[in-house]
Amino acid sequence: MAEAPQDKSAQDRVVDVRGVHYLAGSHAIFSDLNISVQRGSITAVMGPSGTGKTTLLRLITGQVQPASGTVEVFGQDVATLDHKGVFALRKRVGMLFQNGALLTDLDVFENVAFPVREHTKLPEPLLQTLVVSKLQAVGLRGAAHLMPQQLSGGMARRVALARAIVMDPEVLIYDEPFVGLDPISMGVVCRLIRQLNDALGITSIVVSHDVQEVGSIADQSYIIAGGKVIASGSSEQLQHSTEPAVRQFLQGEADGPVPFHYPAGDYHQQLLQLVRNS
């Protein structure tokens, strides 16, 4: 189960992470991580908090480099790209941040227009049409004049989504898109991810630990723990996994391979010690 199904050709792999080791200081975040993302699919990357899911996204977008192994995006090794190359790559990749990361000094309209204004010289009427159409796609055309501070968490994320698709990226990366959302907003974001993926032919990578939501839309899921992929496959396949770590994560059990207690000395000893000291 640890290996992805290899039935598709290499050209269909938009993102290919092979044998990646990554260290933060002396602490190993990833050891021998393998992940591949098929064109046009929704790939979920799940795992307990602190397993480096966000680090994976930073590796894919060239913000950090692996200690060993390769990260290929569109068939290019990200580590070999220079500053210009990385920026060219990023123009083809959209990213949705956990909290939206909207620019606080611009209103909703200008936030969505921001990448267009920075990278193109579109005439104003065309630009407005483009931005309005993207806002309509996320259902927030009426909120164009609001400032980011006036938006709810779910709305901010939808604006960020409109901004992420305004340059028509080939790959869209979602960093924890469901965190802190009420059930309605969660459903809306969930539906949008699926719709945008299918309507625009985008390849989506969703990093999340909301097993239910992400499981319902993903074509292919990876579960990362302890620096490597411990399970991969469709949601169906994962549900039937017998691996204890996978079961603990999917069922949300408090104790298991990931222990409930932070490592500590013997509890009784400590209590006795405290009594003796008092």
Partner: protein
């Protein structure tokens, strides 16, 4: 002790390297005057009221102290010269810089720091936009433009304040006040003040954007960075003020 010396030196090096990066990003930023104008408004126009208020009172104090001192030598008529030279060469640039660090510098640092803490800078990088060009350079240039203008306003109001106290209150002759000033204050003195306030503009803006850009992305980090901006800008302003003054007087 030796630790704090090496820390200071390494910080000085980091800021200098950062200055290089900002200067490299400034050339393309200059092609977008609207972004810079916005920042001149942000740090300049919004500091205007406090600068004017402080200028007035500093000028009035100069009028009082100057009159008191000069009267002991029977030369109250030189009040105009004394107050103007004091303002143009010292108090104008320095006090403006200190106020600028407190008002505009802190808001620059906390604004950029919050952008860092809320992933806005990373988001820009992900959109293939260089935050140094889009965010940092316009603010840096805006600060450098705003500072000499603010110092000029400070000086004008300050001289008015000195005149208000000296002439209206203490009874120095109006004609003597202005004509002595006209005779003794040269373009050289004005230039010294301009050079100083430009130098302080570079220092205060650079430190403000540096601290903001390197903020630790937490609420506490933003607070600490803001404090560091004020402290570092004020100290550096006073040190560089001495160096420049010495250079002008020697040269």
């Amino acid at each position: 002790m030796s630790n704090s010396i090496t820390d200071t030196l390494s910080k000085l090096g980091k800021v200098t390297l950062f200055l290089g990066q900002v200067l490299r990003a400034s050339a393309p930023a200059l092609l977008r005057p609207r972004l810079i104008a916005q920042q001149v408004y942000n740090c300049g126009a919004r500091s205007l009221v406090i600068i004017m208020l402080c200028g007035l009172f500093v000028g009035m104090v100069l009028g009082l102290q100057g009159y008191d001192l000069l009267a002991r030598f029977g030369s109250e008529s030189a009040l105009g010269v004394a107050a103007t030279l004091g303002l143009l060469k010292e108090l104008g640039p320095v006090v403006t810089a200190l106020l600028f660090a407190g008002r505009a510098g802190t808001s620059l640092t906390s604004e950029i720091g919050l952008m860092r803490a809320t992933d806005q800078l990373t988001a820009m990088q992900m959109m293939a936009v260089d935050p140094l060009r889009r965010v940092i350079a316009p603010r840096f240039i805006g600060g450098i433009i705003a500072m000499p203008l603010l110092a000029a306003v400070f000086n004008v109001i300050g001289i008015f304040g000195a005149q208000l106290v000296g002439v209206t209150l203490m009874g120095v002759d109006q004609g003597t006040f202005w004509s002595q000033m006209q005779g003794a204050v040269g373009l050289r003195d004005v230039n010294e003040g301009i050079v100083k306030s430009m130098a302080f503009g570079v220092i205060c803006s650079l430190l403000a954007v540096y601290e903001g850009y390197h903020t630790e992305p937490t609420a506490a980090g933003v607070g600490l960075a803001t404090t560091r901006t004020v402290v570092a800008s004020s100290v550096m302003t006073l040190i560089v003020d001495y160096m420049l003054t010495a250079a002008f007087i020697k040269g």
